[in-house]
């Protein structure tokens, strides 16, 4: 059976992946080293550490923060991060009264150059379906209880615009340097389902 329908046994995805790679390689359509390179890139080079550097800089450099909120793509590129799924990044700022959270209900669009590939919860149907209908409930289930007077703004990434959340800098971190702040910034906070906490 093909992947697209019909009755019958569906072979395991691992086996079908191996079959696909063999077929494309035999026909000269791919170079396995290119495939290896893509995997390595997304496992090791492109991940939420990039975004954390952006956020820590914005927390410690008011001029950079202003540029980041004005033109996220350009400010992020200043730090060397750009590429596929990051052609246009808009940064929104969480405050004591406004909380932004990001989703893609139609697939799982995500700002790869700053956050890497999305985590499993972001790709999960229940998150995609529910966070646009009952975000306060969903955030609470994920461990983030927001006060009733906090305004929630959900961003559904329905085009090529990619959203990045600038989390609130936690109280008690005033003495920390940019470098010391980087490890505090989590992927989940930059999507808007968590807050950054002081060490």
């Amino acid at each position: 059976m093909t992947a697209t329908g019909g009755a019958g046994e569906r072979l395991p995805a691992s086996l079908r992946t191996e079959a696909l790679e063999q077929l494309l390689t035999e026909r000269g359509l791919i170079d396995p080293e290119v495939v290896d390179g893509i995997i390595t890139t997304y496992e090791t080079n492109v991940g939420p550490l990039n975004g954390a550097k952006v956020i820590a800089k914005a927390w410690t450099d008011p001029e950079y923060r202003r540029r980041l909120l004005d033109d996220g793509t350009a400010a992020i590129k200043e730090l060397g991060f750009s590429g596929s799924q990051g052609e246009h990044i808009v940064v929104v700022e969480n405050t004591a009264t406004t909380h932004h959270v990001v989703v893609c209900t139609l697939c799982s669009c995500y700002p790869w150059p700053v956050l890497g590939l999305p985590p499993s919860w972001y790709k999960d149907p229940s998150y995609r379906a529910r966070v646009v209908k009952e975000p306060r409930t969903v955030l609470a289930e994920m461990g983030l209880e927001l006060d009733d007077d906090v305004q929630i703004i959900v961003h559904d990434s329905t085009s090529e615009v990619r959203w990045l959340v600038l989390p609130e800098r936690p109280a008690g971190t005033e003495h920390l340097s940019e470098e010391e702040l980087v490890p505090l910034v989590t992927r989940d906070a930059m999507v808007g389902v968590a807050k950054v906490t002081a060490p």
Binding site: L11, E18, V90, I152, H155, E160, R187
Partner: protein, 226 residues
């Protein structure tokens, strides 16, 4: 199209799964290979970069092919569909090879003939899907707009839960390739893109949780609302 992929506001998916610490990028080795192979396969099938055709392949998968093997299974199955449609692979070729890999002896289909009617994607002329357009935006920041109540048979990025609802233009985003035609290799037709802000009560009724939502909508998805 109204497929399984259009999930916003749908019911029955159960609770969300809280984030796990230190989740690997790829939990199993095949997922990384499927991801990379799908990226490359998409370019092979489209003759270049066309994320719209890629997404349209995913949304045409049946429910099991879309859901049962998770995100990377979806990528694998979408890649197979695109490669089959573009005649880079024969229908059933992956299945037959997979069976042989596990020790069966099945005949594999021959390499298909190239498709003379196949129209690959033209070389991109801008970064990703971003383009510039000569016309002025039809809608201004602060203007009330309605998402058209339409259900196109092909690919669209107008999510079902937004259709027919009224919001306010919050930002004018860079113009972008129109997915509705580009996914079908019918041209890029770039358009202005608007971030439109909707009130939760407009989308879900008076009893909705209080919040606002923005979505990016292409110009042809919108109409004026007084």
């Amino acid at each position: 199209m109204d497929g399984v992929a259009d999930m916003g506001g749908t019911s029955g998916w159960g609770p969300v799964h809280p984030p796990r610490r230190d989740e690997p990028v790829f939990e199993k080795p095949w997922q990384g290979r499927a991801f990379a192979l799908a990226l490359v396969s998409s370019r092979i099938a489209c003759g270049g970069y066309n994320p719209d055709a890629f997404r349209h392949a995913h949304e045409r998968l049946d429910r099991a092919a879309y859901l049962d093997e998770g995100y990377f299974g979806r990528w694998l199955n979408g890649a197979e569909l695109m490669l089959t449609e573009s005649a880079a692979l024969a229908a059933g070729a992956i299945d037959a090879r997979a069976r042989n890999l596990r020790g069966e002896h099945v005949e594999e289909p021959p390499v298909p003939a190239p498709r003379p009617d196949y129209r690959p994607t033209a070389a991109p002329v801008g970064a990703g899907s971003l383009r510039s357009v000569d016309t002025a935006p039809a809608f201004a920041v602060g203007e009330r707009v309605r998402a058209k109540d339409m259900s196109p048979p092909g690919h669209t990025r107008l999510a079902r839960y937004l259709r027919g609802h009224t919001g306010v233009v919050e930002r004018i985003q860079p113009a972008s390739v129109l997915p509705d035609t580009n996914a079908h290799f019918q041209g890029e037709n770039p358009q202005h893109v608007y971030s439109v802000r909707f009130d939760a009560r407009e989308l879900w009724g008076e009893d909705a949780e209080p919040f606002t939502l923005t979505a990016e909508l292409f110009e042809s998805y919108l109409e004026k609302s007084s």
